[in-house]
């Protein structure tokens, strides 16, 4: 059975906590099967702060300023949005002056919690966290890239946000094809005219689209939205006529689409950009994730139709 990203991450953190006594794990009353072992093994360095995300960030900051590496774990929308000002003032701002290593691990990317309604959807987090100076923003799409993210988090100082899906996702990477943590992205499929730029869950949508397409479709998986090798990404994108961003987030508000649009605009590129994601509307509808995605054209059949059209479309 495919493992959840959060479980492989926590298992790696357990290993690290065994080796390194200067690592704390904090949770806002949010669990995981793997967390039970961590709680048992490291009673003095695991703290459940309770249902109190503001204090989660503040306590994490205090520990971080004292030189401890901290993982702060909660449901993505509450972690990033309930405590946004704590994140801004205590992590983003302090990181400019002081050294700290605090890693926010948010579970429930996009519509992972599809039946829990809009309070549990996380469609703003990537935009919000990308906005903050000194922050790194990571968005793995499988357990291999999730492990690369946690290793990156341990090795590199600074505040970071790691966005994890709430459901197990199939492998995209392997030991032979690891995510590129120097660049922050990898062209996981090479295509001809159209390139899909995706992150997290939507990388899987992109792979389904590419598998069903009549001609090769390119796929770039963004594992780290910030910092990102923008020049390197442009070099890849400039081989294509059409670029399509796929995100489980609001579009036009600073997320993946804004990132790619900025890269193309800054370089006065003539590449045609299509942006697919959620439009200025919360999702009250219930149903499977693919159905919810179909409401905005983010499901595989809708994206496949769009890609087929673009493949026929000749750029003027």
């Amino acid at each position: 059975m495919t493992k959840m990203m959060r479980d492989v991450i926590i298992e790696r953190i357990i290993d690290e906590m065994g080796r390194n006594k200067r690592v704390f794990f904090l949770a806002a009353d949010f669990g995981a099967p793997s967390l039970d072992r961590l709680r048992e093994s490291f009673k003095d360095r695991f703290i459940n702060v309770g249902i109190a995300e503001q204090n989660l960030i503040n306590v994490a900051t205090g520990l971080g300023l004292e030189g401890f590496t901290v993982f702060a774990y909660a449901i993505a929308p509450f972690l990033t949005m309930r405590a946004f000002e704590q994140i801004r003032v205590n992590l983003s701002l302090h990181a400019q002056v002081r050294e700290l290593n605090v890693n926010l691990v948010g579970v429930g990317a996009g519509l992972s919690y599809e039946v829990s309604g809009p309070t549990h959807h996380s469609l703003e987090d990537l935009s919000l966290m990308r906005l903050l100076p000194n922050f790194s923003v990571l968005s793995p799409c499988d357990t291999v890239s999730a492990l690369s993210c946690v290793d990156y988090a341990i090795k590199n100082k600074g505040p970071k946000y790691i966005r994890l899906d709430g459901k197990p996702l199939e492998a995209v990477y392997s030991d032979k094809c690891l995510p590129d943590m120097d660049k922050g992205f990898r062209e996981v499929r090479k295509g001809k005219k159209v390139c899909l730029v995706a992150t997290g869950y939507t990388t899987h949508t992109a792979l389904s689209v590419a598998n069903n397409a009549s001609s090769p479709v390119g796929i770039v998986d963004i594992v780290r939205l910030k910092p990102l090798d923008e020049a390197g990404l442009f070099k890849v994108l400039s081989k294509y006529e059409h670029v399509v961003t796929l995100e489980e987030g609001f579009i036009g508000g600073g997320g993946l689409d804004t990132l790619v649009s900025g890269i193309l605009t800054d370089r006065a590129s003539g590449i045609h950009l299509k942006r697919v994601g959620f439009n200025n509307k919360f999702i009250f509808e219930l149903g499977p994730r693919a159905y919810l995605h179909s409401l905005v054209g983010l499901d595989e059949p809708s994206v496949s139709r769009m890609v087929a059209k673009l493949n026929c479309h000749n750029k003027k």
């Binding site: 306590v59 900051t61 205090g62 971080g64 300023l65 004292e66 003032v89 205590n90 302090h94």
Partner: protein, 273 residues
């Protein structure tokens, strides 16, 4: 080294005067909030209660002081300058280009642990530091100062509950209870009623004192920091917002009121006489 009572009283007067003069140089810097905590800060820094090394601000053994009510920060500038955290000549450049002394203090000021212009953060960060110090088996303590208006912030109460649950006996909270927030007396906005009772119910050891009278404040701090109770401790210091300036003392809106240079000079003369 701790100073004598009369020396500390003289220090407090000098700090009050310098705080007023700093406000004269930087009228944007809030004055009333910085006048209510003058004696408390003076007692804390000169009474021998804080272990510190002005020349080594990251010294592991130092006590951590967080001024969570950042708006009351300019009274700490003359203290830090006097103790040698930075050169006294910096005071004259407050809020000017290339100065590190802002109207509200930031963590770029030598001697400031954190940035606290936004209220309600300091105690939670202090909790994290207190846990960290225990983990390091350090004897250093964490002291956090909040205003009573700041206690409206829910995040403070998250931290209050957390601290007592974790028996953070190396954490000390000082409440500058000046009874005013920005627009009115606190009791007319959100009445805290019995703060002592609330803190006791939340599992804290409560101490209290007049926050201006050194004869009372110094023994109260001695008791506070000597208290071996295995729980976090709070000192509720009853103060007057705008202390020393009669016009501000009686004005519920004094938080946002400024003083002009003539008024400052007049008040300084009265304080010195």
């Amino acid at each position: 080294m701790a100073l004598s009572l009369s020396q500390i009283k003289n220090k407090a007067l000098s700090i009050r005067i310098q705080t007023l003069q700093l406000h004269g140089l930087a009228p944007e810097a809030r004055i009333a909030s910085s006048l209510s905590n003058v004696e408390v800060m003076t007692a804390l820094y000169y009474g021998g209660f804080l272990r510190m090394d002005p020349k080594k601000t990251d010294c592991e053994k130092r006590d951590r002081f967080i001024l969570s009510k950042g708006h009351g920060g300019i009274s700490l500038y003359p203290i830090l300058a006097d103790l040698g955290f930075f050169d006294s000549s910096e005071l004259a450049r407050i809020c000017q280009k290339d100065s590190f002394l802002g109207g509200i203090p930031d963590c770029i000021v030598p001697g400031f642990e954190t940035t606290n212009g936004s209220l309600g953060h300091g105690l939670g960060v202090g909790c994290g530091m207190a846990i960290a110090l225990k983990q390091k088996k350090s004897k250093a303590k964490v002291v956090v100062m909040v205003g009573d208006g700041e206690l409206n912030e829910g995040s403070v109460w998250e931290a209050i509950m957390f601290a007592s649950h974790h028996q953070l006996d190396n954490l000390y909270l000082i409440v500058d209870q000046n009874e005013k927030c920005m627009l009115d007396y606190c009791k007319n906005v959100v009445d805290l009623a019995s703060l002592k009772g609330k803190m006791r119910e939340f599992g804290w050891k409560v101490h209290s004192s007049d926050g201006h009278c050194m004869e009372k404040l110094l023994p109260a701090m001695k008791k506070l920091f000597g208290d071996k109770a295995r729980q976090p401790k709070v000192l509720i210091a009853k103060t007057v917002k705008g202390k020393g300036v009669p016009r501000l003392e009686k004005d519920p809106l004094c938080h946002i009121k400024s003083m002009n240079v003539q008024e400052i000079e007049q008040i300084v003369r009265e304080l010195q006489s």
